[in-house]
Amino acid sequence: MHGIAAPQPYVIALFLLWAALMKLLSRRMRAQAGQTALARLVGAARAVPALRLVAVLELAVAAALLLPPASPLEGTAATVLSAGFLLYLTYGRLAAPASSCGCLGTHARPVNWRGFGRAGLLLAVSVAAIWAGPYPLDATGVVVGLAEAAALLALSAELDRHWLTPLRRLLVRLRRPLAVVAPEKIPLEVSLRLLYLSPAYCSASARLTSDVQDVWDEDGLRFVVYAARERTAVFAVPLSDGDPSAVRVALIQEPALA
């Protein structure tokens, strides 16, 4: 038990240190303080002082945890702080669901399950730190501590752009999930974009009263039919050629079709 408890103060202290320094030193974070749930809680004008106050608290708890002498009070203080984080996230989720949490850096994403997971893990680590005592670190403790730190970092959406996005890009490059296997048919949207650029469409568009009524392909042309008030507009769009001036149009009086 002591072996597992021993690394907890270091894990939580380093995490709090990172959070406190981000809040104190990051200019962007102060600039965006008004968009966090904290601004909703204390008012936009007091968001930056509140952010600094939280940072000082975090710094104090981190220092107490890192510096001797070890005491169960330090773990208790960390537990109270972590429980406060969890309460704050719950408040943010309920009162300002669109706001970000402003915990560890600037990002505009609202509080989600990862934020709660991180705060919950932090609370568990803090509770375990109460029993840490002045025990030396052993191999088990180091492994547990590193695993916890990795889990905390993985749950931090602030760091996603450094590892998750590049990882997903790599996987996409390797697996090519959107690669199309030899499209047998040209999508209609390709022909419509060519149509919109054509002089024929420009000359007739003011008269069109409907969206596409009918489409069919014949002789290397795609025929597109629109309603044009009492008439019908039919366009012939070349399938292979990308030249908009090759598009033809005719306006036809509907009774003639009967």
Binding site: P110, R161, V172, L178, P183, P199, D211, S245, I252
Partner: protein
């Protein structure tokens, strides 16, 4: 249907001219767009010739639609009505639960005779969070939207380039705009066009 298509085909190909002669049907120049009378709608009031909402029921050729502002619409679909659901579709594709936008002419009895109906059409912007097999996971203001690639229908427009059926240039983390068809009561969308800034 085939004979009508043949007639339309011969009309568009037989004329020979790229643009139909102005003498036959009045001016077809761009000025025609400005010659139209302004729509007769008081500013701030709803456009009577437009309806939106979700289909509650379908009877014969009439859609019973409840608008998002709790206004009830009856929308009549006729032969000349264009229907869109990830592309032009037939009337049997309309299902209760589908969302729609409709434009047409309001009849004296309150029925909207539709000229065009777009089912489930959505236009969303967001960041690509992930790309998995034939799916783009979009982060739209913190909410996840699953966008499906539909072979033969979905296209991508990269910057100003002509559209392409190849969506594989999309990158995780980039910003995109997706035009598509919502799958009712889910957070899923079938992609019609995805616009990428680069």
């Amino acid at each position: 249907m085939t004979s009508r298509r043949q007639l339309l085909k011969s009309a568009v190909l037989g004329g020979g001219a790229g643009v139909v002669a102005a003498t036959a049907f009045g001016s077809l120049g761009p000025e025609a767009a400005f010659a139209q009378a302004a729509p007769d709608v008081e500013p701030g009031t709803p456009d009577p010739n437009f309806a939106e909402g979700r289909i509650r029921s379908i009877k014969d050729n009439t859609l019973f639609v409840l608008g998002s502002n709790w206004v009830f619409h009856r929308i009549r679909v006729v032969d000349g009505t264009s229907l869109w659901k990830l592309g032009p579709v037939a009337f049997d594709q309309a299902k209760p639960g589908d969302g729609l936008y409709a434009r047409g002419v309001r009849m004296p009895d309150g029925v909207l005779a539709a000229e065009s109906v777009w089912f489930n059409i959505v236009n969303v912007k967001g960041h690509i969070q992930n790309i998995t097999s034939e799916k783009v996971h979009l982060d739209h203001n913190g909410k996840q939207i699953l966008c499906h690639l539909v072979a033969g229908k979905s296209v991508a427009v990269y910057s100003d380039a002509p559209p392409s059926a190849d969506l594989s240039q999309l990158r995780v983390g980039q910003h995109v705009q997706v035009l598509g068809a919502w799958r009712p009561d889910t957070n899923e969308v079938d992609i019609a066009t995805v616009f990428s800034p680069h």
